[in-house]
């Protein structure tokens, strides 16, 4: 037997330690005197060793983001916290931030462009038009924000979603009341001022939301929660807008 070359299958079995003791000894004996078979065995052994050293491969981060986004879309997860905010919620929050920032900038720019009124009627007309434009613009911002919140229903931490909705509702009520007052008394500067103030409150809320987004982005969960508390206080129903 020792003069006979074992076939490759038996060398594989030998390598795995799968042969009966007698057969194992026979091949061992053959290997001592046959360089070719020793070389074959060494080559098989090297392959096995190299394979065991092949490392895991880290996938790109975007793969997890895609997995997470897909699961969110299907509302698979109701609870979120910690790093999950950062990895999955960011795109939505960033989009919200962009909309809100746009709204704030628009209002600031409008303020600078305001023309000098020549008479009371022109002033009233200008204020009305400006208010309409402001409302239109903010309505768009609200629609965008609501869409983002709706798309992430069940994902956004309940506490945060609740605060956002609560504040938006309060401001909407104030705007609605102001509009009603203007409808009754179109020339009422108090009603107009009330509407402007409500819009300014909305700007404040939106700016706070942007701050909150920034805190979440930085991973400052505690700061974010503090900010939520602050937002609650500033929009308390007992605190007239």
């Amino acid at each position: 037997m020792t003069d006979e070359h074992p076939d490759i299958e038996r060398l594989n079995d030998y390598l795995d330690g799968d042969l009966a003791p007698r057969e194992h000894r026979e091949i061992e004996s053959h290997l001592r005197q046959c360089g070719d078979c020793r070389r074959s065995l060494d080559e098989l052994s090297a392959i096995v060793r190299a394979a065991s050293e092949l490392p895991p491969v880290a996938p790109p981060e975007r793969i997890w983001e895609s997995v997470a986004a897909s699961l969110i879309e299907r509302k698979s997860f109701a609870r979120t916290s910690g790093s999950w905010w950062r990895s999955a919620l960011y795109p939505a929050l960033a989009a919200a931030a962009a909309i809100l920032l746009g709204a704030s900038l628009w209002l600031a720019m409008r303020g600078e462009e305001r023309p000098t009124p020549t008479d009371q009627a022109a002033l009233a007309e200008m204020v009305t038009k400006e208010l309409e434009a402001a409302e239109t613009h903010y309505d768009k911002a609200i629609v965008g924000l609501e869409q983002i919140i709706a798309q992430n229903e069940g994902v956004l931490p309940a506490e945060l979603a609740s605060v956002l909705n609560q504040n938006l509702d309060l401001i909407e009520n104030a705007i609605g009341e102001s509009r009603a007052a203007i409808a009754t008394e179109p020339q009422s500067t108090a009603a107009q001022e009330s509407l402007l103030q409500a819009l300014r409150s909305k700007v404040t809320l939106l700016q706070n939301t942007i701050l909150l987004i920034n805190e979440v982005r930085k991973g400052q969960g505690e700061n974010a929660l503090d900010l939520i508390d602050e937002m609650r206080k500033t929009t308390d129903p007992s605190n007239p807008i």
Binding site: D16, E28, R32, V48, V57, L71
Partner: protein, 201 residues
Amino acid sequence: MGSPGAVIETKPEGGSLFAPPPSLERDAKRREDDELVARTRRGDMEAFEALYRRHSPAVFGLALRMLQNRADAEDILQEIFIQAHDRLPSFEGRSAFGTWLYRLSVNRCLDHLRSRGAKEQSRTEPLTPELPGRVTTAGTRGLELERAIGELPPSSRAAFLLHHVAGFDHKEVGEMMGIAVGTSKSLVHRARTRLKEILTR
């Protein structure tokens, strides 16, 4: 290679020379996985993310080596984890989560190769820039091995990767691939023999 008398020491009483790592480490990992699985089932996304972080490099390595195409491997990795999440309620915990995930992964890769094979005979791309090669103790370069693995038939490739790269025994490989223990051994032997031919030609 080799010199007279440099016969590889084997275990006469049987057992592989290249057995998986000690079971203690595996048990600890399994317990941690079990906890994460339980939390994921309760809707905890962080726990599922942790499972992903723990297992995705191994699964991605398997997918890259099985499919030999990075874009496909990325798509498949994504599908595997979404599928794993969907099927988690039916995971009974008889096997370790890692084993269960590997089963899902290797079969998804094999399905993909079958459908790809039907569409186009061969679409393999060199993995050179994507898989980290390394010089091994025996002088076989990891990179050469990566390429050679791509030339194996899919079933042999799968059995080889599961046994020698992932470290599963033939019983586990058999269960994952739905084949007998003997078939797993035979596929792995064929893979090794073929790789030896490729690497020494």
